[in-house]
Amino acid sequence: MGSGKREKFENPAIEWVDSRLPIFTMMQKEYGVFPTPKNFNYFWNFGAIAMVMLMIMIITGIVLAMHYTPHADMAFESVERIMRDVNHGWMLRYIHANGASFFFIAVYIHIFRGMYYGSYKQPREILWILGVLIFLLMMATAFMGYVLPWGQMSFWGATVITNLFSAIPLVGDSIVTLLWGGFSVDNATLNRFFALHYLMPFVIVAVVFLHVWALHVVGSNNPLGIEPKTKQDTLPFHPYYTMKDTFGLMAFMIVFVIFAFFMPNALGHPDNYIPADPLITPAHIVPEWYFLPFYAILRAITFDLGLPFTSVIFCPAKLGGVLAMFGSIALLFALPFIDKHPVRSARFRPWYRIALLSFVANAFILGICGGKPAEGFWVPLSQFSTFYYFAFFLVILPILNKKEPVLDLPSSINEAVLAKNKKASA
């Protein structure tokens, strides 16, 4: 930044600013002429969509915070005041509540795209790791946000999830007390969750900045997974991708708006319209849908690990579940170092393609298991699915590294695009 040659702008006002702080030069370089592979499909829209969702969440969230009272006795009431008496409060809250879901939908598709087309591979490892970090921060933020209305699911969700940390040996109980700010989920918990829920989005913005910075250093991957070689392989970001991203964004917004305005409670749980009551436990405590796969992994570990035929236990079931849940995300961080196959895109990796699509199907099955009571048939199913989740990373990918044949790749993006076009017009 700042160094390097700078071209003069014709507009004197812009030139005046740019010669002192080259912000227009930077925008021109990073978003104007930025060379972008010309063969993106619509999966490449979801980064921009996620960015817009983050902005929507921050803006609606700040306005909601102006009307919300973070106190155990008043939080539920203040949310209802927002819904009933604040001008367009219902709209703000429904956009914020459904916006969380649609932020996760965008990010899950974005993650899937990264996995399918091998976007995490060399030289994009740090880009990927920053992305997983954003995902982790989002999970923490969303969890704490769900606690704020102080309904039954808020309260009991907070109780279940914070209690997980008590499984950590030695320091677990102290961590839980610190999270609670006392000896149970109470007003102090609500207060600190509100403070952190307000803070975290800005941490996310900072990591998103690093994520985009890293992207602009290494450049975008593309559906073929081969690097652009000549100018013919790329297009300037503007107007080609600014236009395509805006169109994709609007299409996404249509679905979002349908949920926010016509079925605003479809993705929520009715129990959260019952004020929190520490004396009454809901029949089934379930987190929001976007946590269900991880919740299923948590509950799948129903057995202690220890020395066989003795009473020695290394890892009680609860700790096992917590480790499995955090491990499932830790593996995402490690993905660039596990998958060493030289080919990026699943288009040219038929074996990996099958394994990955099964992984996605398996994630949906885990999601279904997470929403069901942990009994009967659902327990072995979630155990099997949890096994496949881990096997994908720890068994299948290492085997594919060695065994999956390396297919011939197209020699350039331009050539592949022209060939495809010829085929289509013939």
Binding site: A251, P264, A283, G367, K372
Partner: protein, 251 residues
């Protein structure tokens, strides 16, 4: 890809968790269903009458004020008259005394009990829930309320009910502490609607949907505008996008 879509479709009913062993309430034909649905003002007024004359004997409505009733089609004078039927505690006054006065439109619906302890004491230990949000706080919403109101049956053989318990087909666990609140001819309607249990149950369910979601009509109207705008805007963007991309070889 197809597999994923199939699984997505399979997941849909999963989010609707069945409550206990109670059957799923049947879907009713509500006036407020669908993207253009509105509340039926007549049904809301009748439902309010049922709430006022029956439910409000035990159930509070803490999030709703008398002024909100103007949305049911009542005039300002009518709302004032309805509010003034109730006496509420106010104060302290300049002499430090609490005093009683007729309710004003700005007051919340009067709670039938002074506190939860009193409510429990009077009702065999059971606390009648606040009804403001009940239509959103139960799986099935208005369908569930209607089903519950009409779901009282004699307990099947072998089922024993405790004192103050009743058997209801749609209650989770089937045992409910609320006596059957509605029966034919308990409320005298003025608009000639049938004074049947079925009609009462429908009207009060619609009224409770309104108390839970008073801004539903404006929400849907705004949604229609937003979707129309986005459709047109997205269409325009797509045309521009196609035009811009037309000169790119291979697209």
């Amino acid at each position: 890809m197809k597999l994923i879509i199939t699984l997505l479709v399979l997941m849909m009913p999963v989010s609707v968790l069945a409550a206990g062993d109670a059957p799923t309430p049947h879907k009713q034909e509500w006036n407020f269903n669908g993207p253009f649905g509105t509340f039926d003002r007549g049904a809301l007024q009748r439902g309010f009458q049922v709430y006022k004359q029956v439910c409000s004997a035990c159930h509070s409505m803490n999030h709703v004020s008398y002024r909100n009733l103007s949305a049911l089609g009542y005039s300002e004078a009518q709302v004032k008259a309805i509010a003034s039927e109730y006496t509420v505690m106010d104060g302290p006054n300049d002499e430090g005394e609490m005093f009683e006065r007729p309710a004003k439109p700005s007051d919340r619906f009067k709670n039938p009990y002074t506190n939860d302890q009193q409510a429990r004491y009077v009702n065999n230990g059971a606390l009648p829930v606040d009804l403001s949000l009940i239509a959103k706080a139960r799986v099935g919403g208005a369908d569930y309320i209607y089903a519950l109101m009409t779901g009282y049956k004699d307990a099947p053989e072998g089922e024993t009910l405790g004192t103050g318990q009743y058997w209801n087909k749609y209650m989770a666990g089937h045992k409910i502490a609320m006596a059957p609140p509605l029966a034919d001819d308990v409320v005298a309607y003025e608009d000639g609607s049938p004074t049947t249990l079925d009609q009462y149950a429908k009207d009060v369910s619609e009224f409770l949907m309104w108390t839970a979601e008073p801004h539903m009509e404006i929400r849907k109207r705004t949604g229609v505008k937003a979707v129309l705008f986005l459709l047109i805007f997205a269409g325009l963007l797509y045309t521009v996008k196609r035009k811009i991309w037309a000169n790119v070889k291979g697209h």
